[in-house]
Symmetry: C3
Subunit: 353 residues, 3 copies
């Protein structure tokens, strides 16, 4: 693939400063870019690096100027970079068609231009939209519905009854539809509560590798439109995640918890069950949330509290050993004061006798 | 499936108050239940919701009465709900038989009424009991023994020599028998210690999705009867977990640690290696346990301490920034007292001259 | 397999004290070893157990003597144990050859003596070295390069373009090459940043079960020679891990972070993105590292600080509720002193009148 800088500018609605006719064949990082490649500057702190770059062009915000460099000016360089990268990127998706080694059950509908690779298993009563790509080793259970333009990477497991919207991407090893973790205690052991609910995953959701999403006990576990889930995340039964929320790697969300829209859960966060996380909440990495959280809150810590308060108490905690020494010294000073005052009181009484 | 309320009452050894002849066709949550469905009230705090329910019947504890509603009274409503749900639940397990796309090794014995789905790989010298269900993509290594009424969900990996009891359930993506993480340091690099032990999983154990259980270095990793393990849990080599213990999602148990019976490890807990966790211990979410724990202890925190002490120190920690201010004020007051007392002592001495 | 103690001594460059002609057929732990087996003593605290052992021989450090026991003396008993265990250990690897149920793409080169088991999928333009073992259910994407003497356990997924060195071991369920987690925010939703980089895994790396390693956005994610990674670890895009570092279970490393050589990250540690961890750093379990760390540091806590300081502040934290009581008592004592001093000052002034 080869594009002129002017063509790329048109693609991202940007403005060229420099040579618009220069040919671009690839995208690279600021440090690695070579002749023929385009790079980008999103973070102003890396601006000094521009002087050393060997890139043929740089995507920059409008306020950057650097004579001698071909610039592509856009309001949002990171987004423009992503759009240019999409132009140049290439996945070797399996070829269109159903590979002869696949097992396909009864009453299965597969739309036009789908690519179903080797050793895929598809159950009965399955519906798949158009242009969907299913890699090797994927297992699709009975009564599963999958939209169009979906990509299921190798060894994904979709269990019975689950439903995926359009443009959903699921990375390798991820499980959608394992049983929720529910048991009724009885006489010192546990009786399994059947998990007969399902999972609904809306359009434009992306789910990382080796994630586990449990089906609902009754009703549905629901991941709303545009949610992005990183690797190794645990989502328990009957959880709901609102539109365009971001769930970073190794987060665990316990049963029946409802996460709002535009929420960010940073890495390794844990949420207890049966709570509500309001819209636009941000939870810091490794935090443990034990109560419902109002919208727009920013929390950290385990147990999680308002982030500013958490930072102050962490700073205070670092000083605590020193503080205890001060405290012991203060106690000694009080003791001495008490002795001196006792003496003074005695002397005063005496002098008044 | 359709049952009368009286039939359900007989099934769970309960008592009908209201119309025993009413037909029930499904189970649903308190909020979602419609006509023809049965729901349940286990937690008294949801009692006010009973007035709005559209359910045809409600499973309740004996002390609940609500004229106009058909009630099924039982001592343990949650268990009765689970039992009724089991009656109505339906898994579309693969059909009995061995699918033609499976690979089955030499000297393999598969009991009556087993269902082995498409693209399953079974090694040599494998024994499988009766009525066991193996979903697509499962890989069973050499010399593996599997009991009766076991369910292995898609893409489970059982490595060589491991042994599963009866009624074991393993969810998708889980690995039983990866090598323990053992290396001998030598000249700045590591020499792999072969992991030649095995794993024994007893009857009625359930294991979630994308769990990893390592084989022993020597001897065995052992999960005792009735243990329930949630998704994404790590169990290292030579770990032993006692009967009817519960291990919640994303817990990590390090090598050679022994967990007692009826223990609860909440989400994201970490246990160091070579320690003993006594029977009936409860460890709070995200705790890090660094020492052996006597039976019936309740611990929280990282490092974990007795839960009440942990709660007190967490509350104190929240107050710490304010406390430091008080402390600085107290120091100032002591300084002032010292000055005043010094003056008084001087004055007293003077007056005695 | 049967070896005399003298043969084993030659194999590990050790010295026999006792009967070198005794036959050894297996290796076992100190408590479990029976006649015909060899065991080892690496930790001197278990020395009293030697009196009860039924083992036919014991691997010990040079300073241990115990008349009546056959000893194999070596400077590093743990390493010698590992070497003897390697002699006696046995994996039932699949037989050499390509199983007829495999799917092999176009332009694939597979070296001599490889064993490719049932239901393996290999894409196009793949290179595999000699004596490499690929278990069932493994999926290998297009343009993947794999060295010699590699072992890929069941249901591993290697996505397009990734590259593995020689003697790499990857346990079941692990994903190498999922997309990095990168999105550009735009109008309240997210635009996917294509992840077109790759992953390079050098010689002698071992990776546990159900690990996720993301491909780079641009460039490469790089795991250097001899690194050992435990189960359920998350490694984000563009991460670099230096030679012979150890990453324990459930660690999460965020994007673009560079980990040095000989580093140890204990269980459940989290590292934020874009930081540098110096060589020979040790991070304690469950720590959260938020800043770059100089070489040889030992850190703990979340946020992580120097381990000694962390231990002190944790001890101080345990005492904090008691400290607050002391503080309140001190305040009372100061108040009393202030009253007494006020009285004394008044009296003193009076007496001077």
């Amino acid at each position: 693939m080869k594009k002129t800088l002017a063509e790329l500018a048109e693609h991202v609605h940007g403005m060229v400063v420099g040579d618009g006719e220069i040919a671009i064949t690839a995208v690279a990082g600021l440090d690695e870019a070579r002749e023929g490649e385009i790079t980008f500057l999103a973070n102003p702190k890396y601006r000094p690096k521009l002087r050393q770059t060997k890139a043929s062009a740089v995507i920059v915000p409008p306020n950057i100027d650097l004579p001698g460099l071909n610039l592509l000016k856009v309001p949002n360089p990171y987004l423009a970079f992503a759009r240019v990268l999409t132009l140049f990127s290439q996945k070797y998706h399996p070829p269109v068609g159903i590979h002869e080694t696949c097992h396909v059950g009864e009453d299965v509908t597969i739309g036009k231009q789908c690519a179903i690779d080797a050793n895929v298993s598809i159950g009965n009563n399955v519906r798949i939209g158009e242009r969907t790509v299913v890699y090797s080793g994927v297992v699709i259970g009975d009564h599963v519905t999958i939209g169009s333009d979906v990509v299921l990477y190798p060894n994904v497991s979709l269990l019975q009854d689950v439903s995926l919207g359009n443009r959903v991407i699921i990375h390798s090893g991820t499980v959608v539809g394992s049983d929720g973790f529910g048991f009724a205690p009885v006489d010192g052991s546990y009786y399994k509560i059947p998990q007969i609910g399902t999972i609904v995953i809306d359009d434009d959701v992306e789910i990382g590798a080796n994630v586990a999403i449990d089906r609902a006990t009754l009703g549905e576990t629901h991941i709303h439109k545009g949610v992005k889930i990183d690797n190794l995340v645990q989502i328990a039964h009957n959880v709901v995640i609102g539109e365009h929320s971001v769930v970073v790697s190794q987060v665990g969300i316990s049963g029946s918890t409802r996460v709002g829209k535009h929420v960010t859960l940073a890495g390794q966060v844990g949420l207890v069950g049966h709570i509500q996380i309001g819209d636009s909440v941000v939870i810091g990495a490794q935090s443990g949330v034990t109560k419902s959280v109002p919208e727009k809150s920013v929390l950290s810590g385990s147990p999680a509290v308002e982030q500013r308060a958490w930072k102050k108490s962490q700073i205070a905690l670092q000083k605590l050993p020193e503080t205890l020494k001060t405290l012991r010294a203060m106690e000694q000073r009080i003791r001495e004061l008490e002795e001196q005052v006792r003496a003074l009181v005695g002397s005063d009484a005496e002098s008044r006798d």
